[in-house]
């Protein structure tokens, strides 16, 4: 193996030992370094990522965090480790896709797109997977809860950010990411920033 600095060793060890992907802040804290060292750590991470590039284990970015994962092309070899996930119903999968591509979105908007009432159970099942999360409340009458995807979603599907959602550009181009307008208008991209949107209120403010 090529040479490795002590700090790279430490980062490697932390990421190997961690049970979850770690972000830069956490890495800095674990290494007892202050924010000034952020760039340096980022450089180390890139070096490590390159060192692992062709190996059976890879250093990947998920949800803005870093984690070691087995290489995708070895999936068949690892067949026996597969955890068969509970199969999502058609309604749940459809709802998940709508939330992912239209977030932040409300239950009413999901129903508008599906043309059918969404049962509470469908959202519950999705919340249970912890792939979606209630984000806030829309600043409209009734203050409906807005939903978005979580870091768990990105981790599970191996995306660094929701900008990597498959077909996002095509769907946007076709104007299909809009909740109301017919095609041909400028359509907002989904976003899962932790920060609330302009028309979102914090979840707690439900009085009124």
């Amino acid at each position: 193996m090529s040479s490795i600095t002590e700090q790279q060793r430490q980062i490697e060890a932390l990421l190997f030992a961690a049970t979850e992907p770690l972000d830069l802040r956490t890495l800095l804290a674990y290494l007892s370094l202050d924010d000034e060292h952020q760039e340096q750590i980022e450089e180390d991470l890139i070096v490590l990522q390159q060192q692992y590039e062709n190996r059976g284990v890879q250093l990947v970015n998920v949800a803005g965090k870093w984690a070691f994962r087995t290489a995708i092309d070895l999936r068949d070899l690892l067949e026996r480790h597969k955890v068969v996930p509970r199969k999502l119903s058609r309604a749940a999968l459809e709802t998940l896709a709508i939330i992912a591509y239209h977030q932040p979105t409300t239950r009413a908007e999901i129903e508008e797109i599906r043309g059918v009432t969404t049962s509470k159970g469908t959202l519950d099942v999705l919340l249970e997977t912890s792939w979606i999360r209630p984000r806030g409340r829309r600043m409209t009458p009734g203050r409906p809860v807005t939903y978005g995807t979580s870091d768990g979603f990105l981790d599970h599907f191996g995306f660094d950010s929701i900008k990597e959602l498959p077909g996002l550009a095509e769907l946007k181009g076709a104007g299909l990411l809009d909740s109301n307008l017919p095609a041909g208008f400028d359509v907002p991209l989904p976003h899962d920033d932790m920060a609330l949107q302009q028309d979102e209120l914090p979840l707690e403010e439900c009085d009124e």
Partner: protein, 275 residues
């Protein structure tokens, strides 16, 4: 028109697996088995119809699709199937849309959307739903954790060891000391106090049996226990135990209880001797 003429394609398409039973199962003897339950709403039904007729969603004839939908609903109704309200609402709306599309647009109303615009909106919604379905499917076909890529099997984990750092200031310390010392002073003032007397239910019952043994008139419990209640040391415990005992005796049918309203005196009398 045979609504579900070519359904082989459906049977082979796993994406529509859930709707196979929505199609006519036994068309040979002319009977339709239509299970509208299998569809997830009117848009879903319309998408299924578009697929049946191999309609291109990007360039769809909403008029044609509307006719398919209406005829489907009509057939279902002819079979006296229960059709959920939203399917009927859509049917009514499509009838309206059809008329708007067929009749020349003579309205000068700027506010009102033309038939073509309404049709475009519906086409957009169908396309959007179809797109979201496709997106969900692609999502599941893509890589997934624990399925296509794996985390470390035995991560050591990073443990956080908590170390307590105690805080206290001198004022807290002195207040606690003074309070502690004073408490002792107060308790030292009453030394060697006798153990408090506590009535047991059994004991109270004995007393009650003695007292109500003589008469069968209603008597307030306070009066019966007057002798004991006078002693402040005993009044509470005597009352509580006597009340408990009286409930027990009432349950056994030995005595009766009466209270006219909350907080009023509680009366007791021996049962059975009256009449």
């Amino acid at each position: 028109m045979d609504l579900m003429a070519d359904n082989d394609e459906h049977r082979n398409d796993e994406d529509w697996e859930g709707q196979v039973e929505c199609l006519p199962k036994d068309a040979s003897d002319g009977g339709f088995i239509v299970d509208i339950e299998g569809f997830e709403g009117p848009l879903d039904l319309m998408l299924a119809l578009a697929r049946t007729h191999k309609l291109d969603l990007t360039n769809i004839s909403i008029l044609f699709l509307a006719e398919q939908y209406l005829s489907f609903v009509e057939k279902a109704r002819a079979l006296r199937l229960d059709i959920a309200a939203d399917y009927l609402v859509m049917a009514a709306w499509l009838t309206y849309l059809k008329s708007r599309l067929l009749l020349p647009d003579d309205s000068d109303d700027e506010e009102q959307l033309s038939g073509d615009e309404l049709a475009a909106r519906l086409a957009f919604r169908l396309k959007r739903l179809e797109a979201m379905r496709g997106a969900g499917k692609i999502l599941l076909e893509g890589k997934q954790l624990h399925n296509d890529f794996f985390p470390r099997g035995q991560p050591e984990g990073i443990t956080v060891l908590r170390q307590s750092l105690y805080e206290a200031d001198i004022y807290d310390l002195l207040t606690a000391y003074a309070a502690g010392r004073l408490r002792k002073v107060v308790s030292v003032v009453h030394p060697g106090r006798e153990r408090r007397k506590v009535w047991s239910i059994k004991q109270a019952r004995k007393q009650l049996e003695k007292i109500i043994g003589f008469g069968c008139d209603w008597a307030p419990i306070d009066a019966l226990l007057a002798g004991f209640l006078a002693d402040p040391e005993q009044s509470r415990t005597a009352m509580a135990a006597a009340f408990g005992a009286s409930l027990e005796m009432a349950r056994e049918g030995v005595l009766e209880l009466r209270q006219d309203s909350p907080f009023n005196p509680l009366y007791l009398r021996r049962k059975g001797d009256v009449e």
